[in-house]
Amino acid sequence: MQAATHCARRVKCLAMVSTVCGVVACSELTNVPTPDIISPNDITNAVGANQQRAGAIAAFANGLAMQALMTGMLGDEFADRSGTIAADQRRVPLQQTYFDFPYDRLTSARINALAAASKLELYSPTPSWHIAEMFAYAGYVDIMDAEGLCSPLPLADVVNGSPSAVRILSRSELLKSALVDFDSATAHVAQGDSIATLVSVGRARALLDSGDWSGAVGASQGVPSGYAYTPPYDGVHQFNVIFSNVSALDVSVSNLEGGNGLDFVSAQDPRLLIANLGLGAIVPESVYAPTKYSSLASPVVLASAIEASLIRAEVLLPQHGGPGSAWLDTLNALRTDGTFSVSGVDTTYNPGSGNVAGLRLLSDPGSDSGRVTLLFRERAFWLFGYGERLGDMRRLVRQYSRPIESVYPHGPYEGGPGTYGSDVVFRPFGEQGTAGYSGCTNTGP
């Protein structure tokens, strides 16, 4: 009896201590400081709105540069010298790699831009062009996705400053989404403003992609000569990834890649000056560097008067009902003003509105096919390294009925053993869990 009482007392004591211990386990003991964690609630104010705008700008700039590199890889602008960029062989990895379409960065730019626009409207409405700029970026992301990726794609709405439901959009719907964003931008900016011009060129580009020729030519009007918009690059936080890879001897400008590629090197075109850096890091072929990208801070042009002119020139092609030689005149106006400079015994055409000296006047090839070839060659050289070439190659197939085998690199792969693959677009990654999205059904151009 005594032993039983003793045991009961002991159990009671231990149970009490255990209870205390249990309470201790769930108490404040487990709370810790989280100095490097910012809550979404922390940015619902003017400072947060402007910081999110800055974040969107950075994401957009880096995404644009990477998009320019990778679309050029899958296209014919750039060649791999590292032995690691599968897209160069037209073999897009099934899973994300570093050298991939920057779907995440551009999407980050888009949803943060739209969220920032929403917060700016609420907490920091002036200057209003900040808001317009954000909508413009969102529109451009839609265009780059439509040009670089297969179809359809998921696109998130941004409601009350936060990403919300996802819509599944075809390429044409994606381009319409871009136009909606451009409309939103226009509502916050005065005509003639730099952002307004950015929106105009973007709208023209979206309409051109959509095959809306008249709409495109309308939108491309009124762009001031010499206009060029680049997101900010400082070479540290936003940097030119093309320069970094070329200078590391991992990437080169292509020349006649896979037979169909343009002669970006051998043409010795004054619009695309080239420096030979020697052999590649892994692939023992020459590395040709585009001198326009001379540092990590070299900007990537997003929109320009040159592009607007090129859009107009395309719409003015006779096969689109353009009058006479208007298309050619538009192209030549970019190349030269028709006068010459004399240096010793040499003469050189003075620059046209494209501001590059030494470009001769073009002549009409005389056929629709020849004109298209010439026009797209002009686009390729004027817009080299701006992330437009893959979209152009797709349009050559889609809108001008060129066979893929006549547009994309093919045959033996120049970067190693094997042959070029058959991919013509990138695929989005990280969408396995997206409700209602079962991947691309159209991986063609």
């Binding site: 032993a3 039983a4 045991c7 002991r10 159990v11 231990l14 149970a15 201590v17 255990s18 205390v20 211990c21 201790v24 386990a25 769930c26 003991l29 487990t30 810790v32 400081p33 490097d36 809550s39 922390d42 947060g48 910081q51 999110q52 705008r53 974040g55 969107a56 700008i57 994401a59 073999r91 990895p93 099934l94 899973q95 994300q96 995440d104 730019a109 888009r110 949803i111 943060n112 998921p154 696109l155 998130a156 990403p163 400082d234 070479g235 540290v236 200078s247 001897l249 020697g278 590649g280 892994i282 990590l296 053993p417 042959t419 989005p428 990280g430 396995q432 869990g433 997206t434 999205y437």
Partner: protein
């Protein structure tokens, strides 16, 4: 004859003399003696019969003791009393134990009776001897001496028991053995001379136990009668079966036989002296079934491989066990990525920081059934390290010196091949790209094939013989306050060197300063460590220990691509690349500096408190701090002409706090039943602070981040806490059935806001059948035990994974630097720990006096709420990220066993063989609603329901046929499946180790070996795949290659990311892991040098390998990160080298 004895009463003696009874009461917990005998003269003449009950001695009614009523025929005439007692014992077939000093030597007795009971016979013989009879057990009696106090009463006052604990076979004294009075608070720890002394015992019957790691505990019953000094020497028998050893658990020290699970125990102090052990990993490797080092530490000095216990449990979290040193949780992080510059295959890490020579033992708790009380984080098992402690006695020195050679067999490295020929494009030019595909396409005509490996050529090889040194001094001694101090220095130069050809090429680049030692030995390690502890007794009720250690190490870690290029070089040596792949020669990574500097400190206070016989308390408070600094510096033009240079400096400071408080209370409510109740609280806090800075494009002449034009920096602070409490009830029935039930309650920082508390229950049973009353006593089967355990434990999610975050950092906008923010991780407020539930059951049997021991365990565990990294829609988050969700389930089940055979056991020679092994099966049960299979990719195993996690899958190649009969497989002459097929697991599923040990000349000379087999897994021979992708493997250029290998080469040339099906190989292997010859200098010789012991060991590690794997070595694995999930492939990693070590041990 009518005898009657009863407690506290005086009884009639029936003419056979007077008796006395004792009654012990314990009003204050201390025993006192009280006599009930009013007539001392009568009372003291005859013996009393009494026995122990509940820790007290009570007189008994001898009529109730059957064996005392045995009828004897006695015929003793003038016989010495001792002989008479022995005669009586013999006739009655009982054991009678007595101290011969207590028996009057001159006394002679006479007794003749045809029918007399044993009790009566003893009464006659012991009349007037002042000896009493204690009934120790059925059939065993002890004679104890009575004394008379100052007032003439019979009094039992304090006695002392003392003796020496020795090794039963060598008779050497054993230090640090614990001699304990069972059921009491008293205990003594032996000093260097093996002596112990326990005082303050009142008369009675006691069970004394002696325990020491590595020996079978010895239990002796002793009957103490008066204030005498009793001597009881305790010879311990070495226990290969480990079953009787004592291990440390959360609730205190326990005998293994009380546990329902079988822990792995490694006696490190003996292993390090006689085995080729270079670091802690070597100690763990192939010594405990179910514990797998994945794989070895590879060839890189300073590498720290992952360890898994009983399979892979988690898809998203580390599968590493927790590491405790003397009860303090330790940083076991692994640095797999050198700040974006991946190191050569293996990872550096903290596990091998711990110096083996400082360790006394390692106990491995394998799974949730055993680790439940360790709580959240413990599901992957526990590696509990107990360091050496101060030993009582005179000051003793132990000195060791070890010198070693590291050898890597260059012929293990595969060749690259090149097909030479003439182009058929009209130029007729010579080409080194004349592959079979090119030949078939009529692009060239092949005229020769060359092969070359830069690893094998003396001028181009980066492989050399490395050196190793390890020196240490240990000091211990003291009395009531004991101390231990250890200091070691270790260095290793690794097997890498700057190749001769590279030195010639890079001499102009490095200029007049020449190559530094860093470049010449690009993988070198130096390590200093100090460890000490002081233990002092606090009266007789406890002890307090202060423990501390400090370590400083510096390791050079070359980057990966410096060696990878040697596996798929061009297949010939030219003057530009010297046989290395273009742009990937060793100097490019050997000349720039990459090193890891580590500083570690730990300190703790450890106390034990036992104020009463039934209550004890424990307390550990400690902190472990580690600082890891990664430094990288490549000067402009140093790695290669035109290289802009780079600088990285990143520091991670990790502080881990441990508070562990516990208490236990024991009770014996019934004579055959003992109960022990334990409670405790544990608090573990981890603070990891990271700061890093880096820059590219360094200004010439400057070596700091500030000089770079492309600077970046980062800082993070991650803090996590697990706080929990537990209660355990352990019951033992008759020392043969042990039942335990427990529960732990945890809260943790990383739980989501919607999840508060985790509960982890456990239960276990151990049934030592051979100790049960019904077990027939016989000699052959010395032990049979059945055991079973069930329990749950967890692994907590990464800190802050439940919290939604915003990313922030500097950006450039509006012409200035500013802060930019973007959406980060969405967080998961429902996040909770992964939960593992395990059941295990097994048996242990010991036969023929422990010459045959074997154990078997079956286990089955299931990870539920497994964290699955669910890829979040990029379209919604804007980041390529995943959210951890508790939706998965993984099963592991398998078998473990060990057999120990003492084949020869004689006075001078012994030969034993120990075999242990394990087989693990793993299966992914579900990924929840996120059921998309992940088939992995080139170099990354997949995760598919129904298969082992982290398995290889491929698109197999089939229908290979040479359609055009040209002897070359071309594109189109085989098909590649479009659906994935399971290939095999990426980590070994089975493991067996055989260890024969031969000892001759009375242990003076011993020879041991260890054969380590790993099987049932698949390796991706990526080095071969890369070579084939570049057209530089044999199958790509030689038409004599099999069609299957040609098809694989063609496929991988077509699409490297998809067509790696042909490069999976059986990774099974057997290694002669250890070989050691030890000579122990005879004690007499050692004394010449004023030493008490001396030995010399010549040993070798990784002596030979048998495998079908065609790469350099199946353990040439590239393991990234601290996850033991791999991937396992051989991308530029080094095979583990051979170690040849000569070691001297000296004890003074």
């Amino acid at each position: 004859m009518n005898l009657h004895f009863g407690p506290c009463r005086r009884f009639a003696l029936g003419g056979m003399g007077a008796g006395i009874a004792f009654c012990f009461i314990a009003p204050t917990g201390r025993l006192v003696a009280q006599t009930t005998a009013p007539l001392m003269q009568l009372a003291d003449r005859g013996p009393a019969f009494y026995q122990a009950s509940g820790g007290r001695a009570v007189t008994v009614d001898v009529r109730a003791i059957t064996f005392l009523q045995a009828i004897l025929a006695v015929d003793l005439s003038d016989t010495p009393l001792a002989d008479a007692i022995d005669s009586i014992a013999s006739r009655a077939r009982v054991r009678i134990i007595y101290n011969s000093a207590d028996v009057p030597t001159g006394r002679r007795v006479t007794l003749s009776a045809s029918r007399i009971t044993l009790a009566a016979a003893l009464r006659v013989l012991l009349d007037d001897t002042a000896l009493d009879v204690h009934i120790a057990s059925e059939g065993t009696l002890s004679l104890t001496r009575r004394s008379v106090d100052s007032v003439g009463r019979t009094a039992h006052v304090v006695a002392v028991v003392q003796g020496v604990v020795t090794d039963a076979s060598t008779h050497a004294p054993l230090a640090q053995a614990v001699v304990r009075v069972e059921g009491k608070g008293q205990q003594s720890i032996t000093g260097q001379d093996g002596s112990y002394r326990i005082a303050g015992l009142t008369p009675g019957t006691y069970a004394l136990s002696a325990r020491r790691l590595g020996y079978t505990p010895l239990r002796r019953t002793i009957v103490l009668g008066s204030d005498s000094v009793y001597r009881l020497d305790l010879p311990l028998i070495a226990s290969p079966a480990m079953l009787d050893q004592v291990v440390t658990t959360v609730t205190g020290d326990r005998s293994v036989q009380e546990l329902g699970h079988m822990p792995g125990i490694i006696k490190v102090d003996s292993v390090v002296q006689t085995a080729p052990v270079t670091n802690l990993t070597d100690i763990i490797t192939a010594r405990v079934p179910g514990v797998q080092v994945n794989l070895s530490s590879g060839g890189l000095t300073g590498a720290s491989p992952p360890i898994t216990i009983r399979g892979e449990n988690s898809l998203s979290l580390s599968n590493e066990p927790l590491i405790y040193v003397d009860g303090i949780r330790q940083d076991n992080s692994t640095v797999g990525d050198f700040q974006g510059l991946s190191a050569i295959g293996e990872s550096s890490g903290r596990f091998n920081d711990i110096v083996p020579e400082d360790i006394e033992s390692i106990e491995i708790v394998k799974g949730p059934s055993a680790s439940a009380l360790y709580g959240t984080d413990a599901a992957n098992g526990i590696i509990a390290i107990r360091t050496k402690r101060g030993v009582a006695g005179a000051r003793r020195f132990s000195v060791f010196a070890e010198q070693g050679l590291l050898v890597l067999n260059k012929s293990e490295f595969p060749y690259s091949y090149t097909g030479w020929g003439r182009l058929l494009d009209g130029s007729n030019a010579t080409t080194d790209q004349c592959t079979l595909v090119a030949v078939a396409a009529r692009a060239c005509v092949q005229d020769s094939i060359t092969h070359f490996s830069p690893f094998r050529d003396p001028a181009t090889t980066p492989i050399t013989n490395g050196e190793r040194g390890d020196y240490g001094l240990q000091l211990s001694g003291g009395t009531d306050t004991r101390y231990f101090v250890s200091g070691t220095y270790q260095y290793e130069t690794g097997v890498l060197k700057l190749p001769t050809a590279d030195m010639r090429l890079y001499a102009p680049i490095v200029g007049a300063t020449g190559f530094g030692n860093d470049a010449l030995h690009p993988n070198a390690l130096s390590k200093y460590s100090v460890r000490d502890n002081v233990i002092t007794n606090v009266g007789s009720i406890g002890d307090v220990s202060l423990l501390g250690s400090y370590l400083s190490s510096d390791t050079r870690i070359p980057l990966s691509y410096g060696l990878a290029g040697g596996f798929w070089g061009p297949g010939y040596r030219d003057s530009v690349n010297d046989g290395w792949a273009y742009g990937a020669r060793p100097a490019e990574v050997f000349v720039p500096r990459h090193d890891e500097a580590v500083q570690r400190f730990d300190g703790s206070v450890n106390s034990n408190w036992h104020p009463t016989t039934w209550f004890s308390g424990r307390g550990i408070v400690g902190v472990e701090f580690s600082s890891n600094s990664l430094n990288a510096l490549g000067l402009p033009d140093e790695a290669a002409p035109g290289d802009p240079g780079y600088r990285v400096n990143a520091r991670t400071n990790t502080t881990m706090y441990t508070v562990d408080l516990g208490a236990s209370a024991e009770a014996t409510p019934l004579r055959f039943l003992k109960a022990r109740t334990s409670i405790g609280v544990q608090y573990n806090r981890t603070n990891e602070l990271y700061t890093g800075a880096g820059a590219n494009n360094l200004t010439a002449g400057c070596q700091t981040v500030a000089c770079g034009t492309f600077q970046n920096s980062a800082e993070s602070s991650v803090e996590s806490v697990v706080a929990g409490s537990y209660g355990e009830e352990a019951v033992s029935i008759g020392d043969w059935l042990f039942l335990t039930g427990a529960i732990r309650v945890d809260g943790a920082t990383a739980f989501g806001s919607e999840f508060a508390t985790a509960y982890y229950p456990k239960a276990s049973a151990s049934w030592v059948i051979s100790q049960a009353p019904f077990w027939p006593h016989q000699n052959f089967i010395s032990l049979v035990r059945l055991r079973s355990a069930w329990g749950e434990s967890g692994v907590q999610p990464p800190a802050a994974a439940g919290i939604a975050t915003i990313n922030a950092g500097p950006v450039y906008a509006d012409g200035a630097l500013t802060t930019g923010v973007t959406f980060g991780l969405p967080g998961n407020p429902a996040l909770k720990p992964e939960r593992q539930r395990e059941f295990e059951a097994g048996a242990d049997v010991s036969l023929a006096s422990s010459r045959i021991d074997f154990g078997f365990t079956y286990y089955s565990k299931r990870s539920s709420d497994a964290l699955v990294s669910v890829v979040l829609p990029v379209s919604q988050t804007g980041v390529s990220t995943a959210q951890l969700r508790n939706v998965g389930a993984i099963a592991n089940w398998g078998y473990e066993g060990n057999v120990s055979l003492q084949i020869i056991k004689s006075a001078s020679t012994s030969f034993s063989v120990n075999v242990n092994g394990s087989i693990n099966h793993n299966q992914l049960l579900t990924l929840g609603s996120y059921g998309a299979p992940n088939y992995g990719s080139y170099g990354t195993p997949g995760v598919v329901r129904g298969f082992p996690i982290f398995s290889w899958f491929s698109l197999p190649i089939s229908n290979v046929r040479d359609a055009n009969g040209n002897g070359i497989i071309e594109p189109g002459e085989f098909t590649q499946a479009t659906t994935y097929r399971y290939v095999g697991p990426s980590y070994p599923q089975s493991q067996f180790t055989t260890t024969p040990v031969l000892s001759v000349l009375k242990g003076t000379l011993s020879l041991s070996a260890s054969f380590d087999y790993r099987g049932a897994f698949v390796l991706e021979n990526q080095e071969l795949g890369e070579a084939c992708a570049l057209g530089h493997c044999l199958a790509a250029v030689d038409r004599r290659s099999s069609f299957a290998s040609q098809a694989s080469a063609v496929a991988i040339q077509g699409n490297q990311t998809l067509s790696y099906a042909g490069y999976f190989q059986d990774g099974s292997f057997t290694k002669l892991r250890e070989l050691a010859l030890t000579y122990r200098v005879p004690t007499s010789w050692a004394r010449v040098f004023k030493s008490r012991s001396a030995s010399v060991t010549l040993s070798a590690r990784n002596v030979a390998t048998w495998t079908r794997y065609t790469g350099a070595d199946p353990e040439e694995s590239s393991v990234l990160g601290n996850s033991s999930t791999g991937p396992f492939f051989d991308y530029g990693a080094l095979p583990p080298p051979q170690y040849w070590i000569l070691r001297f041990n000296l004890g003074m």
